[in-house]
């Protein structure tokens, strides 16, 4: 089914696209408020943080690595924003991004220097980051500059800045991953690290780059989240770790690395936001929502594993 290059194959985005259409049709039919401007703007607003964190995760997965610290980095970023945004202004965003990147580089260092398994190393980073976050902001609170909220979220419209930012990030990385030598190195590394090394790819550089990008996108996600809730929350990012991996897998990215494209990831992130929205609008139990997302994750894993097995037969 998935012949040829799995980096450019848009068929990989098909399951996510179907899910998006399905959820849109079903929810629009069952709930009159789905297609209102306010709700669509809400979807775009919620897509922004998940979209960012999923993009970072996807890049890490292209290289055959994984980053389970993204949620914790998000939480930390909301905390830093909440503590510094009113006093430092724009500088606080720079500071938050720098710390996010530093967290990613920390994971990369463990993976490179100490040769720790990336899954375990990023879990360790997650624990450390979470501890630091709870130290500096033990409970939800703080304050984020309202001017930022005005800029991003006040005008409630579907085609506002939040959606534009998501689309831009994905468009840029669709090109970077597909047609740049950096992108090719990431896929080559994820495809077969040994072969990539023999072809001149520096695994160290790839690891540093992907985890730095993942940290960057996680803290971007955290910044957007903190602006939306106008405060910090030391645990708000938790659920995003699984959602980010889930979005990447549902978008056709292979856990083994080397396969997938960001178009699929964008649609998959959108579909996960729609799942949330659907459950909210239909007033279903939020616990059911977690179950539904978990099931979607498993289905996506099974579906794409079959695709891969077919390709190798």
């Amino acid at each position: 089914m998935f012949d040829g290059s799995l980096r450019f194959n848009l068929l990989l985005a098909l399951p996510a696209l179907i899910l998006v259409i399905l959820l849109t049709v079903v929810t629009a039919t069952l709930s009159p408020s789905f297609l209102t401007e306010a709700n669509l703007a809400n979807i775009a607003t919620r897509l922004l943080p998940l979209g960012m964190v999923a993009l970072g995760q996807a890049i890490v997965l292209f290289a055959g690595r994984i980053d389970l610290s993204v949620g914790s980095i998000m939480s930390l970023s909301t905390a830093i924003m909440a503590l510094t945004s009113t006093s430092l202004g724009w500088l606080s965003i720079t500071l938050t991004l720098a710390i996010g990147i530093a967290c990613g580089l920390f994971t990369a260092t463990g993976v490179i220097m100490l040769r720790i398994n990336p899954l375990v190393m990023s879990l360790a980073t997650a624990a450390i980051v979470k501890g630091v976050t709870l130290l500096i902001l033990p409970s939800p609170g703080g304050e984020v500059d309202y001017a930022l909220y005005e800029l991003l979220f006040e005008r409630e419209q579907l085609f506002g800045l939040p959606l534009l930012l998501s689309l831009m990030a994905y468009a840029v990385f669709a090109v970077v991953m597909g047609w740049s030598r950096f992108g090719r190195s990431v896929y080559a590394f994820g495809s077969d690290p040994r072969a990539a090394f023999a072809n001149g790819v520096s695994g160290v550089k790839v690891d540093l780059a992907i985890y730095a990008l993942s940290g960057l996108f996680s803290s971007l996600a955290g910044i957007f989240l903190s602006i939306r809730i106008l405060s910090g929350d030391p645990l708000i990012g938790e659920a995003y770790t699984l959602d980010a991996v889930s979005a990447a897998i549902l978008g056709g990215v292979a856990l083994q690395g080397g396969r997938g494209n960001v178009i699929g990831v964008f649609l998959a992130a959108l579909s996960l936001v729609l799942v949330n929205n659907t459950f909210n609008l239909l007033e279903l139990d939020t616990n059911l929502q977690a179950i539904a997302k978990g099931l979607i994750f498993v289905c996506a894993l099974v579906f794409f594993m079959r695709g891969k097995a077919g390709g190798e037969a």
Binding site: S5, R181, R184, A188, A195, V201, R259, E312
Partner: protein, 518 residues
């Protein structure tokens, strides 16, 4: 620099007294040789003789401890493969480095992709260029194929193409023909001749004596880190090479075969057996017989090996062992029926590389010697030590991980497993691929001993010398069918290649009726 010697050409590469040791273990003990512009130099030697180390030094994979290397009169000490390439030395490794999720063109052009003004890769242009390049070199591969879709031979061709794309002054080919059929190998040898005409020098490593004799302007033989022979074309023959490599004669490499097997009972019969990759084929094996299976690359050899070991079973026809039907519909069933199979890709299919020799050897012994489902460590060690000595497996001890052994010794571990239980039928698929000549000889004698015990052997191989030296009868496969049968008295490389090239119009008449199973 003061004067030119009798040889009018100045060497492009001059290696003088190069030495290299790993820890206290010397691998190269002062090797000296030179390479002229446009010269084809064959580097010959057993695995472990130091060839790979020398190649790695030349290609920037590792530094050397002592001695000098001059490239065009300047010191040559590349720290990285890319520096070697900048200086004009490119290598095509035997262990190909093909990235599975990239296309052929993306693999070949990796890091050198044509880019547009925005520094983005021009995918279409690149694949077009690649198609032209491959066609020019004589390799029939679609540039849009994915790396994981390529056969071993195609991977080797991609690897060579990648090295040539660097337009090196010195091209180093590490066993370029090991995975190739004679025809594909000829394409590579022709390519070397064309590069030579362009002035490119080639160093190639090979285990195939005939191509060394045919294609090399000069051959140097390494043994235990020292040069034991250096000779120009025409000044050496097969025996000289082998003598220099291992210090023994070719006639000692193969065990003798019994004169006639015609009176022996048929032990194994395959009738009209086929599957999606194999036309229904029929053949039989007599007690203690070696049936060689020859053919060009990818004519159903692998499918046959996989069908016989139950990995992708026959879907039609019957298989009978000692007159009783045998079901080979899974590897477990084939093993239970007593079909021992030795795969070509021992790293993926045969061995657990991280586990010690001891545990790798006892994999099949477990069921027979275990008590209450547990394998007594003592018995395991005893068997392992016995097998290690019996097969002359060179290792530090039984606990050494198999991954650290040389190719030949790894293969001996695979063979040793079957010592726990004499098989009913032994299926060998490229059993000596990438194995040095001494290990080969040991493996051949081992096969000889098993046949002396009455075990029939199916030997599927692309090594004609091996097929001719070991087989009692040879069948050729072409497009999943048996295209020819040759009796021992008619064995020759030409006869095999003629049948292997497909059923020519006159082929049926030349099929040996006794040799074919009719």
């Amino acid at each position: 620099m003061t004067e030119c010697s009798a040889s009018h050409a100045k060497p492009l590469l001059a290696v003088t007294g190069v030495a290299k040791a790993f820890g206290r273990n010397p691998v190269l003990k002062g090797v000296s040789f030179s390479l002229l512009p446009g010269e084809v130099l064959a580097l010959v030697g057993e695995n472990g003789a130091g060839k790979s180390t020398l190649m790695n030094i030349l290609s920037g994979g590792m530094p050397y401890d002592a001695g000098t290397i001059l490239l065009d009169g300047n010191e040559y000490r590349p720290a990285t493969p890319s520096e070697a390439i900048r200086r004009g030395v490119a290598i095509a490794h035997q262990e190909t480095a093909i990235m599975p999720d990239l296309t052929v063109a993306e693999n070949i052009f990796f890091g050198r992709e044509p880019r547009n003004a925005l520094r983005l890769i021009r995918q279409k242009q690149m694949h077009l260029d690649c198609r032209r390049l491959l066609a020019d070199l004589g390799f029939a591969i679609d540039p849009y194929r994915m790396g994981n879709d390529l056969s071993a031979a195609e991977r080797q061709m991609v690897e060579i193409t990648r090295a040539i794309l660097h337009e090196p002054r010195i091209l180093v080919l590490d066993e370029p023909t090991a995975s190739l059929s004679s025809q594909a190998a000829q394409t590579v040898l022709d390519l070397m001749a064309r590069l030579k005409a362009r002035g490119t020098s080639t160093i190639f490593i090979s285990h195939r004596m005939s191509e060394i004799i045919d294609a090399a302007d000069r051959a140097v033989v390494l043994k235990d880190g020292e040069l034991t022979l250096e000779a120009r074309r025409g000044e050496f023959d097969r025996d000289d090479l082998i003598q220099a490599m291992v210090g023994r004669k070719l006639s000692n490499i193969f065990p003798g075969r019994p004169v006639s097997l015609a009176s022996r009972p048929m032990v194994f019969k395959v009738r009209d057996a086929g599957n999606s990759a194999l036309a229904p084929i029929s053949f039989y094996l007599r007690r203690g017989e070696v049936l060689g299976i020859a053919g060009l690359e990818g004519q159903g050899q692998k499918a046959l090996a996989r069908a016989l070991c139950g990995a992708s079973p026959f879907t039609t026809g019957t298989v009978a062992l000692h007159g009783k039907p045998a079901k080979l519909n899974s590897p477990a069933a084939a093993i239970a029926a007593g079909i021992a199979s030795i795969p070509d890709d021992r790293k993926h299919d045969g061995l657990a590389l991280n586990l010690p020799i001891r545990m790798n050897m006892s994999l099949f012994a477990i069921s027979e010697k275990s008590r209450f489902g547990l394998l007594p460590l003592n018995a395991e060690k005893q068997f392992g030590e016995f097998a290690r000595q019996r097969f002359a497996i060179r290792s530090t001890d039984l606990e050494q991980p198999v991954g650290q052994l040389s190719g030949g010794n790894q293969q001996k571990v695979v063979f040793a497993r079957w010592l726990a239980r004499v098989p009913e039928v032994l299926v060998l698929y490229e059993p000596t691929k990438g194995v040095d000549i001494e290990s080969k000889s040991e493996i051949y004698h081992l096969i000889g001993e098993l046949t002396a015990q009455g075990v029939p052997v199916i030997l599927i191989s692309s090594d004609l010398l091996e097929l001719i030296g070991m087989s009692d009868r040879i069948l050729t496969l072409y497009e999943g069918r048996i295209s020819g049968a040759i009796a021992r008295r008619d064995f020759s490389e030409e006869a095999i290649m003629a049948h292997a090239a497909g059923p020519a119009t006159k082929a049926p008449a030349t099929i040996d009726r006794e040799a074919a199973c009719v």
